[in-house]
């Protein structure tokens, strides 16, 4: 819960100048914004997608989208908060687009994750770390777990972003936690 708030607090003081410059087309200012926020955006993208390589692609998409949308940023919230929300939307929309174009199913998603480098934990390990266990979750449960327990979003916010009910979000979160417990105890 505290993570989203922390991200705002952690935002450097110099953002507003660079945001204004970047919105006017200054690429150097935008690069500074990228350097400041890229780790946090990448972390979100990698955790939500369950894949470091996909996280890198999505991070690039997020910053390209940010560049396009910056002129519309009105400063009503901190830039880091706005960027974070935009990143979540890019990840969720990317998933929808992929689903539309390739008719991927949750099952195929899980299979992809199994192949992914983040999921290549040796089968014989006794305990798995939380990061690896999260990447092994089914896509829907993983996204909700990351948004709620890692990033600090509320069920109502998640429901709105994902187009589900808050009850559905609660159910998926509980399922994710139980699956994680099982994986961590193995």
């Amino acid at each position: 819960m505290a993570a989203a708030v922390l991200s705002t607090v952690r935002a450097p003081m110099g953002d507003s100048g660079d945001v204004a410059l970047a919105a006017a087309g200054d690429r150097q200012a935008f690069e500074r914004l990228y350097r400041t926020h890229s780790s946090r955006v990448f972390t979100l993208c990698a955790r939500m997608s369950g894949s470091r390589s996909r996280g890198e692609e999505l991070t690039q998409d997020v910053f390209v989208r940010t560049w396009e949308k910056l002129p519309q940023f009105r400063g009503e919230s901190a830039f880091s908060t706005w960027l974070h929300r935009l990143a979540v939307n890019v990840v969720l929309n990317a998933r929808k687009t992929e689903g539309k174009h390739s008719a991927r199913t949750e099952q195929s998603d899980v299979e992809d994750e199994r192949r992914d480098e983040m999921s290549r934990a040796p089968l014989h390990i006794e305990r798995m770390d939380l990061q690896a266990a999260i990447s092994k979750l089914p896509a829907g449960a993983r996204r909700i777990f990351v948004l709620h327990d890692v990033e600090g979003y509320k069920h109502e916010e998640i429901a709105e972003m994902m187009g589900i009910t808050s009850g559905g979000s609660k159910a998926q979160l509980h399922r994710a936690r139980l699956l994680l417990r099982e994986a961590l105890q193995r």
């Binding site: 990698a46 690039q60 990061q131 979160l173 936690r177 994680l180």
Partner: protein, 280 residues
């Protein structure tokens, strides 16, 4: 385990709301009472609370490479913010689209004409080659008869090249020696005549379409554009590999088909991208 007020099954059902802290008074008391007595459920709650706490403390991750170059190359094209787009540009947008559409139609018509003319002349040559061999076998009118299938297939496939392997694809029925040799005659002569010039035509259309797509990059949704570019890279790789293989075996109809197929796919994808409405 069961205690006087609540079973473990009932506890499990109430657990999500208990963790959220949204249980009402009487149910909350029952859950808390159950937790005091049941080791299994108390352990479960403790683990889930730990997972929640650990998740909030997970460290940031770092990408394996600097992603800025990729971002910079994608934002290098000038972006016209939708909100700030001048009215004048909007007024001329339909005319621009019309010109683009007309250019597409002219280019496509030219290619269609060229390919059709080429394939028609190719068909005549192939039919002339095939006919004597086909005449060696009586046409029984039985569609399952190997010879009639073979002859029909070879003539038909002069417009659409047949696979090299006789054991796969539409030529599976070819079994008679004379028909096989006929098929080989066709497959050995056609590629060198067709692929090289048609490749030039493809290159022309691809360049024209690519130009349109490049001009429209700023109007397309970045996610869509990323998918298009990723697919183009895959197709380009297929084209390169087909060309390399074809250079080693210029007579292979299969490789020629692969190349044509890949070029077709590229044209199709670029054409789709060129005609996408803005911001999709």
């Amino acid at each position: 385990m069961t205690n006087s007020t609540m079973t473990c099954e009932e506890f499990d059902a109430a657990l999500p709301d208990h963790l959220e802290g949204t249980l009402d008074g009487s149910l909350r008391s029952a859950v808390e009472g159950h937790l005091r007595e049941c080791v299994r459920c108390a352990s479960l709650v403790k683990d889930l609370r730990n997972i929640e706490a650990d998740a909030a403390k997970l460290p940031e991750l770092a990408p394996s490479r600097d992603l800025w170059q990729g971002i910079e190359s994608r934002i290098a094209a000038p972006v016209i913010p939708l909100a700030a787009r001048p009215e004048r540009t909007r007024r001329f947008a339909p005319a621009w689209m019309g010109i683009a559409a007309a250019a597409l139609i002219v280019t496509t018509a030219g290619i269609t004409y060229t390919l059709t003319a080429r394939s028609l002349s190719g068909s005549k040559a192939s039919v002339a080659t095939v006919t004597p061999a086909a005449m060696n076998q009586p046409n029984t009118g039985d569609s399952s008869a190997p010879q009639s299938v073979a002859a029909g297939t070879v003539v038909a496939k002069t417009d659409e090249p047949a696979p090299a392997s006789p054991t796969t694809g539409p030529n599976r029925g070819i079994g008679e020696p004379q028909n096989r040799s006929t098929a080989l005659m066709v497959t050995r002569t056609a590629p060198s005549e067709q692929t090289v010039p048609s490749e030039a035509v493809y290159s022309k259309e691809i360049a024209a379409l690519q130009h349109i797509v490049n001009d429209r990059k700023t109007q397309l949704d970045s996610a869509t554009l990323a998918i298009i570019e990723r697919n183009l890279r895959i197709i380009d790789l297929a084209i390169e590999q087909s060309k390399a293989a074809l250079a080693k075996d210029p007579a292979s109809r299969l490789l020629s088909d692969q190349l044509t197929h890949a070029l077709d796919k590229k044209v199709e994808l670029l054409r789709t991208a060129a005609m996408l409405p803005a911001n999709t």
